[in-house]
């Protein structure tokens, strides 16, 4: 008996140490200089917690645990080695895995403990299972859209929110009934199944540009469901890790929704992607000036200060390595080059930073929106690569624009603006960008990678 008590204390102590390491792990993420230490702390904490758990007195059968740990590692390694451009879908997929784990454990616990479940316990168990299953299918849908297996275009229909909320209300209603009658085991599968459908419906109306908000929100849900699982199992470590993950996802979704100029309730109810292409082409034919790679290279090398604005188009064209070559060529010529990073550029928070860091662009050249906006009036050339809505001055000036009020990069204040773009088609939201018809704007038509490559050739070859 005393030995059992000793084991119990050991496990609790190990969990306590792991909790401390997890908090330090996130603390060290505050700066790139200490961030890798943070990963190491997280790994140690995780290893300790797993080893401690294996001492648990209730474990009588080892073969399934070992087989599952081995199989999980075999699948996990390739998931950790995906291309950097595939990171958004990988992240969505891992939210799905996390939610799957939580949902399965919650389901098993229900059938093991029913009907002896206290009302409060049933409340948290329902939260665990509902959040877990809607996050599972929601994240799979998000991953499918990001991998372009599913159409990226938002699919909307009349009364969509009503239908979605009805599904959610039904599952909450079932949860309420189970709280009162935990013996009603036949209703439990419905409480798993209906949120699974809700998760799919929740993501259907969401377009690609809203993905950063959605991924953050799913991250938050995954964390909250894990915390609820901690309540069910009375596991403090799990509550702490879930709360940390939940607040992290929550903060990121607030940052993303602010950067998209969407209200927070809009985010909570998942009603994104509702921006419609309201204003169709306004009749009058406006003209844009275009330029060749040779001209662009000339203007760039004559400049003192250049700010590059990357967007999702750069990621799609896989142009980040060519952009770095251009950065090197210009820096060699004594041009000061910075990168302006909009919070929602790309498909997940921080997406552009990772792609540019992969291409060896030093991170102190990657400047956030609020910091760089003051620099544009002193900037000779703002070069936009595959970004659109985040540079649209209509967000500042045109109250009728669907993106009015969205914080943007003030590229129109630079002396010259150059935009690398495939054609004149409007961006994701179907909004016309008046920047393209500005007198100081030059359109560089073509594939981002090929065009930047031509500029690099002109910069290095044209020594005259």
């Amino acid at each position: 008996m005393t030995q059992q008590a000793l084991i119990l204390y050991t496990i609790e102590f190990v969990y306590l140490v792991a909790s401390v390491l997890f908090i330090f792990s996130l603390h060290w993420m505050s700066s790139p200089a200490t961030a890798r230490r943070g990963v190491f702390a997280g790994e140690i904490g995780m290893l300790l917690a797993i080893c401690g758990t294996l001492l648990h007195k209730d474990i009588v059968e080892w073969k399934y645990i070992v087989a599952a740990l081995v199989l999980g590692s075999i699948i996990g390694v390739p998931l950790g080695k995906v291309q950097m451009t595939a990171v958004p879908q990988r992240t969505a997929l891992s939210h799905a895995f996390g939610a799957l784990c939580v949902t399965l454990v919650g389901t098993a616990e229900f059938y093991l403990q029913s009907p002896n479940i206290s009302p409060f316990m049933m409340v948290v168990l329902s939260m665990e299972v509902i959040l877990g299953s809607l996050t599972f299918t929601g994240s799979l849908m998000a991953a499918g859209k990001l991998q372009e297996i599913l159409p990226q275009r938002p699919i909307t229909y009349k009364g969509q929110n009503l239908v979605n909320l009805t599904f959610l209300a039904i599952s909450v209603g079932i949860a309420g009934y189970l709280v009162a009658n935990p013996a009603a085991t036949h209703l439990f599968p419905l409480m798993v199944f209906i949120p699974l459908i809700f998760g799919v419906l929740m993501i259907i109306p969401i377009g690609g540009a809203d993905m950063p908000t959605v991924i953050s929100l799913l991250n938050s849900y995954a964390g909250l469901s894990a915390a609820a699982m901690g309540f069910v199992l009375n596991n403090k470590l799990l509550i702490i890790a879930g709360a940390l993950d939940g607040s992290s996802g929550f903060i990121l979704s607030v940052i993303m929704s602010k950067a998209m100029n969407r209200s927070f309730s809009n985010v909570l109810f998942g009603a994104f992607g509702q921006v419609q292409a309201t204003a169709a082409a306004a009749g009058e034919q406006k003209t844009a000036r275009s330029a060749t790679a040779e001209e662009a290279a000339g203007i760039l090398s004559a400049a003192n200060k250049v700010v590059i604005v990357p967007g999702y188009g750069m990621a799609v064209a896989q142009a980040q390595h060519k952009v770095r070559e251009m950065y090197d060529a210009l820096t060699k010529k004594g041009v000061e080059v910075k990168f302006a990073i909009h919070p929602v550029a790309g498909r997940m928070p921080g997406h552009m930073n990772v792609l540019l860091a992969e291409a060896d662009v030093p991170y102190d050249r990657l400047i956030e929106m609020d910091e760089i906006n003051g620099d544009f009036p002193q900037t000779d050339v703002a070069l936009i690569i595959g970004a659109n809505d985040v540079t649209n001055p209509a967000a500042r000036t045109d109250a009728s624009s669907p993106i009015f009020g969205m914080p943007i990069l003030d590229v129109d204040k630079a002396r010259t603006v150059m935009v690398i773009k495939r054609g004149m088609s409007p961006g994701f939201a179907g909004i016309d960008n008046p920047l393209y018809y500005d007198d100081k704007t030059l359109m560089l038509f073509g594939d981002a990678k090929a065009f930047v490559n031509n500029i690099v050739r002109e910069l290095s070859g044209g020594g005259h």
Partner: protein, 97 residues
């Protein structure tokens, strides 16, 4: 309401608060690795799944527990690997130390 659930609520509240303070200081540069790291840490749910898979209370629970361990282990292994790979890429142009 049993007292350990009240304790749990306090822990949840405090941990959420710590999370809020710590995450707010994370540089936007690192938001992508932050998300993959929190995802790996969140897979600590594996400890619940391990007990479930090993205690052998019912075949149903063992099967679900085993699948849950597989899913969580994928996240732990994959999440830490990719976070570290990403962070390794962040270099500064200023000479370090």
């Amino acid at each position: 309401m049993p007292s350990n659930l009240i304790d749990s609520l306090y822990i949840f509240m405090l941990a959420g608060f710590v999370g809020f303070l710590v995450i707010r200081r994370v540089s936007p540069l690192l938001h992508t690795p932050l998300m993959s790291l929190t995802n790996a840490l969140d897979a600590i749910a594996v400890v619940g799944a391990i007990v479930l898979a090993g205690e052998h209370k019912s075949t149903f629970a063992t099967v679900l527990g085993t699948i849950a361990v597989v899913a969580a282990t994928c996240n732990i292994v994959g999440g830490f690997i990719i976070t570290d790979r990403m962070l390794k890429m962040f270099k500064t142009s200023r000479p370090t130390k």
